[in-house]
């Protein structure tokens, strides 16, 4: 996700479109990215550590983005 202090033009565009479609409750929209990464076998701490390294190295730009990692079976 773009960090809170970073302008998110895409989120702003979506926010602008919502009232035109009759959705009036939203006060802000932020748009991010989601990566689904598959592994064979159990997701161990070592695998999670590697995923975090991926996130910090290439999947996100830590200058402008935050990331979170979650596991789904």
């Amino acid at each position: 996700m773009p960090k809170p202090e970073i302008l998110d033009p895409q989120g702003k565009a979506v926010l602008g479109a919502l009232p035109r479609l009759g959705f009036t409750g939203a006060t802000d929209v932020r748009q991010g990215k989601r990566f689904e990464i598959e592994f064979a076998g159990e997701v161990t701490d070592a695998v999670l550590a590697e995923v975090r390294q991926m996130a910090e190295t290439i999947l996100s730009n830590p200058v402008i983005e935050n990331y979170a990692v979650s596991v789904e079976q």
Binding site: L7, P9, A13
Partner: protein, 222 residues
């Protein structure tokens, strides 16, 4: 001087940049993104375009191209590196320059002849200009909004790292109207507008871009 121009898959302005290098009185050397070989060049230009289709983030994948390992290592030793447009994005993703470039605040691609002020003529790429000189060169980008956190921005301004600033209007939402930036050492420069398109009367908006390509010569013989 031998100036390498890197071609990535999706680079658009590599040939223009090579031509500008020659017009500036230097020898242009074509470099390939997949070769970890700088062919003995004295300086490198990362040209404009949409390297790797701008997938993931602009410049994010190019940063890990084999040639970039060498460019980053040499840049850290002081070799002059100029990143134009997409090249500027690659330099930010490589952390050779602070901050990042995000989508234009107005969300549209912008293409215009843009007035700039040269704010720092101490770099190897801008020494041909007068401090404070105003130049007009083309700007064409969709993701040219320069952002950095408040501390970084204060440091950039305090250390005189702003190389060029937009005048008349801010075309993309860049903080402090920043159009170009250098690193602390002053050898790496990123610029969103395109000086390589303003080097001949026949095409482009004039000759205001030539200085970026003659500065290296002046420095060599200085």
């Amino acid at each position: 001087m031998k100036v390498g121009v890197v071609t990535f898959p999706g680079s658009l302005d590599d040939v223009d940049a090579q031509r500008a290098v020659r017009i500036g009185g230097n020898e242009a050397v074509a470099l390939w993104h997949g070769d970890a070989d700088l062919k003995g060049v004295d300086a490198v230009i990362l040209p404009g375009g949409f390297s790797y289709g701008d997938y993931l983030r602009c410049g994010a994948i190019s940063r890990f191209a084999p040639v970039m390992t060498e460019v980053v290592a040499k840049a850290q030793q002081g070799m002059p590196v100029l990143g134009i447009c997409n090249g500027f994005q690659i330099l930010c993703e490589s952390h050779l320059l602070p901050g990042a470039l995000i989508r234009n605040d107005h969300r549209k691609f912008v293409c215009r002849d843009q007035l700039l002020r040269i704010e720092n003529n101490k770099t190897p790429w801008t020494s041909a200009y007068e401090q404070g000189q105003e130049i007009r060169i083309v700007l064409k980008n969709g993701e040219g909004g320069f952002v950095a956190d408040a501390d970084t921005l204060a440091r950039i301004e305090g250390e005189g790292q702003v190389v060029a600033r937009y005048l008349e209007m801010n075309p993309n939402g860049s903080l402090n109207d920043i159009a170009g930036l250098t690193n602390e050492r002053g050898n790496v420069v990123g610029l969103m507008p395109h000086p390589e398109h303003a080097v001949e009367e026949l095409t482009g908006s004039g000759l205001d871009g030539v200085g970026f390509f003659t500065s290296l010569v002046e420095r060599t013989f200085a």
